[in-house]
């Protein structure tokens, strides 16, 4: 077992545990993390300070070490995490719905008006599938839907696409859910933190 200190509390966990897992129950914001999936390390919102590290580290992909001292509320880590969430909000043409994880994390980090506004994602919708709708403009490329389809469902109907600012997600050869190998399991909609992918019935309820 490994013993470390998190926010002044001694915590003992098995080797191979990540800081995020060891800090369960504490308020560490995350966007690309889903405990049903392997950690991905893309959103960089779960930053924490680790004594001896020159800069904050992502808690989701950093394994614990014996004697480690972690501060989950380090001001630099929180400032950078808030800036990152601010950037994410600035790439969406509309604000995410208040119940989404993205909106919750933005509230938790007290993200204000965007300091770096600019180009937003083009509106592109796939609503031809009977159960699943995809609003590509709300996609933040967290990879959760792709990993749900790969790791949880084993269907491989989804992929990350593009690179840099053009990054997004596509079903099949980008023909949409209906013409892909999607089996309508809904794991992608279930994990999506922005409602870019939703189940149609849920969408109707909201409307």
């Amino acid at each position: 077992m490994i013993t470390l200190t998190i926010d002044g509390d001694e915590v003992t966990v098995p080797p191979g545990t990540t800081i995020l897992e060891a800090a369960r129950g504490r308020d560490i914001p995350t966007l690309c993390f889903d405990e049903r999936q392997a950690p991905f390390g893309a959103c960089r919102v779960c930053l924490v300070a680790v004594e001896g590290s020159p800069k904050p580290l992502p808690s989701c992909t950093t394994p614990v070490r014996e004697g480690m001292t972690v501060d989950t509320r380090d001001p630099t880590a929180r400032r950078v995490a808030a800036a990152i969430v601010e950037l994410v909000l600035s790439e969406l043409p509309v604000a995410p719905a208040p119940h989404t994880e993205l909106a919750q994390v933005a509230r938790m980090l007290d993200v204000g008006e965007p300091r770096w506004p600019g180009e937003t994602h083009a509106v592109e919708r796939d609503e031809r599938h009977p159960y699943l709708a995809f609003q590509h403009e709300l996609c933040i490329s967290c990879g959760r839907c792709v990993r749900a389809c790969d790791e949880v469902q084993g269907t491989f109907a989804l992929t990350a696409t593009g690179r840099g600012f053009e990054a997004n997600v596509a079903a099949g050869l980008d023909q949409g859910f209906r013409d892909s190998v999607c089996v309508s399991c809904g794991a992608c909609a279930d994990t999506c933190p922005t409602d870019a992918i939703t189940e149609i019935s849920l969408l109707d309820l909201v409307r």
Partner: protein, 540 residues
């Protein structure tokens, strides 16, 4: 932890063992054959590589080589930093005007297409333009492209300043012949004692990487030579792969001997069309001579046009034909790399140091650069210098000695130098007495990096340099981590408008990108921007 899909890697491994090509290889063939990629090509690539169709689609939207549809004549213009230093970017507009097509466009009649490429490795005589498979560069290049009479550019020269060269001595397999008779632990100990620091940018000790991999439980180990670093302004690996391929192969065979690997891969850049043929020919010779084959063999994989693929986890994704995005470590490649096997990833130049150590020993290697980082280093200069080319030098010379005595200085004062690649800070011409070594350069916010030295003359507009570097940074972001993906696009937009820069807002943005990013790309693109803020604030 990681990021690359274990399921996809397992699919790639199984199909590789049955001799299947990777999805990237099939897609590149389709592009070369027909000049565009259709959904049918993607389905064929899925079928042949064994990857799911969606994953193939993802690959087809990632690599530069697959993105721009090609006309009968396909022209690629270099937008690397050395070509930018040569013309301020004017050559790009001139080629667009001459061909009548915009950047990354194909003419309606499909007769001609123009793509941007970074970088062709002719920094010693920029600007460079690739017309079909001919790379032309230097004075008159634009006229020749205009008149459809491109001719091969002169290749850069590689000169050693050392009495006993390490990297310019042709690879003769003498070190390998000696080492293979001895226990692998002796070579591993010698490489550790020689304290070989990685020459690709990070400077990580090669011996430590080797030791991790040699201790890994999985006996099926792999050596990968990273020849896809792609730093604009550096043509060091190009020269080593094309002019001295046996030295690299010998270094890889030695690495294989030391860690117990049987398979080796070299990932080359598609921007260097001569590299793969040169290496393939050398591999055939080495097999015939009995150096490669049964115990350790090497295969060459050509990349698809992506700078971030120079990062080791992205490199391994590319090698396996997947999207070249970065993965979080752990697991480190030494634990889980190519096809899930323990993998050593070393830069080309790093591996080229090993034959000397095997032959002469660690003490002789350390003695090459007294009181400095052990061994020697290749540096290369852009066309602004009087004697541009690549030089093997000891560590510990001053930057002034390198720029003035070795490269002959510039016509006029040196305004600034970017050393080590696009992620290196910028050294002002007033600080040329800085010693060329890891720590002294780091103290100036700069780095040894990959050894490319791009000089800017007195006419250079430093805001334009910042804009150029941020454009490169944003274009080449792999798109995985949020701060790099969005932050570099925003930082470039701040500079591109020409409006005055709000320094507070820029510094806050740079902090988020620098601290937040997953790999050294986002982590270090801010470094040269910070240098410009520090040394030339009046130009912003």
């Amino acid at each position: 932890m990681g990021g690359v899909s274990r399921n996809l890697v397992e699919l790639v491994r199984r199909h590789h063992e049955q001799g299947a090509p990777t999805a990237l290889e099939v897609l590149k063939e389709a592009m070369d054959r027909r000049g565009e990629i259709t959904d049918d090509d993607r389905r064929v690539a899925a079928e042949r590589s064994g990857l799911p169709e969606a994953a193939v689609y993802g690959v087809s939207t990632f690599y530069e080589d697959l993105l721009v549809p090609r006309g009968a004549r396909h022209v690629r213009v270099c937008t690397g930093t050395a070509c930018f230093a040569a013309t301020g970017g004017a050559h790009v507009e001139a080629v667009e005007a001459a061909l009548g097509v915009g950047l990354d466009q194909r003419s309606e009649d499909r007769s001609v297409s123009l793509a941007e490429t970074v970088c062709l490795g002719y920094c010693h005589c920029g600007p460079a333009v690739r017309d079909g498979d001919t790379v032309d560069a230097g004075p008159g290049v634009l006229d020749r492209v205009l008149s459809d009479s491109a001719r091969p550019a002169p290749e850069p020269r590689l000169t050693s300043l050392l009495a006993e060269p390490v990297l310019t001595r042709p690879g003769d397999w003498a070190g390998f012949t000696t080492a293979r008779e001895r226990d692998p632990s002796e070579l591993l100990a010698a490489v550790k004692a020689a304290d070989v620091r990685g020459r690709g940018g990070a400077g990580f000790p090669a011996g430590v990487k080797w030791e991790f991999a040699s201790r890994a439980a999985n006996p099926d180990k792999v050596i990968v030579a990273n020849g896809d670093e792609g730093d604009p302004g550096s043509y060091i690996d190009k020269l080593l792969m094309e002019d001295n391929p046996h030295l690299l192969l010998e270094g890889m065979a030695l690495a294989g001997h030391a860690v117990g690997a049987r398979h080796g891969f070299i990932v080359t850049r598609s921007e260097y069309p001569r590299s793969k043929p040169a290496l393939d020919a050398a591999i055939a010779q080495a097999r015939a001579a009995g150096h490669l084959g049964e115990h350790f063999d090497v295969h060459v994989v050509e990349g698809g046009g992506s700078y971030v693929v120079g990062e080791e986890t992205a490199l391994l994704a590319c090698l396996q034909g997947l999207r070249g995005t970065v993965s979080a470590r752990p697991p480190f490649p030494a634990e889980r790399g190519v096809h899930g096997h323990p993998t050593v990833v070393n830069n080309v130049e790093t591996l080229c140091n090993i034959p000397f150590i095997a032959r002469e020993g660690a003490d002789a290697y350390r003695a090459l650069s007294p009181n400095a980082t052990p061994g020697s280093k290749l540096v290369c200069f852009n066309e602004r210098f009087a004697r541009p080319g690549a030089y093997e030098v000891p560590f510990g010379m001053t930057v002034r000695e390198l720029c003035e005595d070795v490269a002959g200085g510039m016509d006029g004062p040196i305004k600034a130098l970017q050393i080590g690649g696009p992620l290196g800070g910028i050294l002002p011409g007033t600080r040329l007495d800085t010693v060329f070594d890891f720590e002294p350069l780091a103290a100036e916010g700069c780095m040894v990096g990959h050894g490319g030295i791009v000089g800017f003359d007195a006419h250079t507009d430093m805001r334009a340099v910042a804009t150029h570097l941020l454009r490169f940074g944003a274009n080449e972001s792999c798109g995985k981590c949020f701060p790099c993906r969005i932050g570099l696009q925003r930082a470039h937009a701040m500079f591109a408008t020409g409006a005055p820069i709000d320094r507070t807002s820029l510094e806050q943005l740079l902090e988020a990108v620098e601290i937040g990013s997953l790999c050294a790309h986002g982590g270090a693109v801010p470094a040269p921007i910070r240098s410009i803020l520090a040394h030339w604030p009046e130009e912003l």
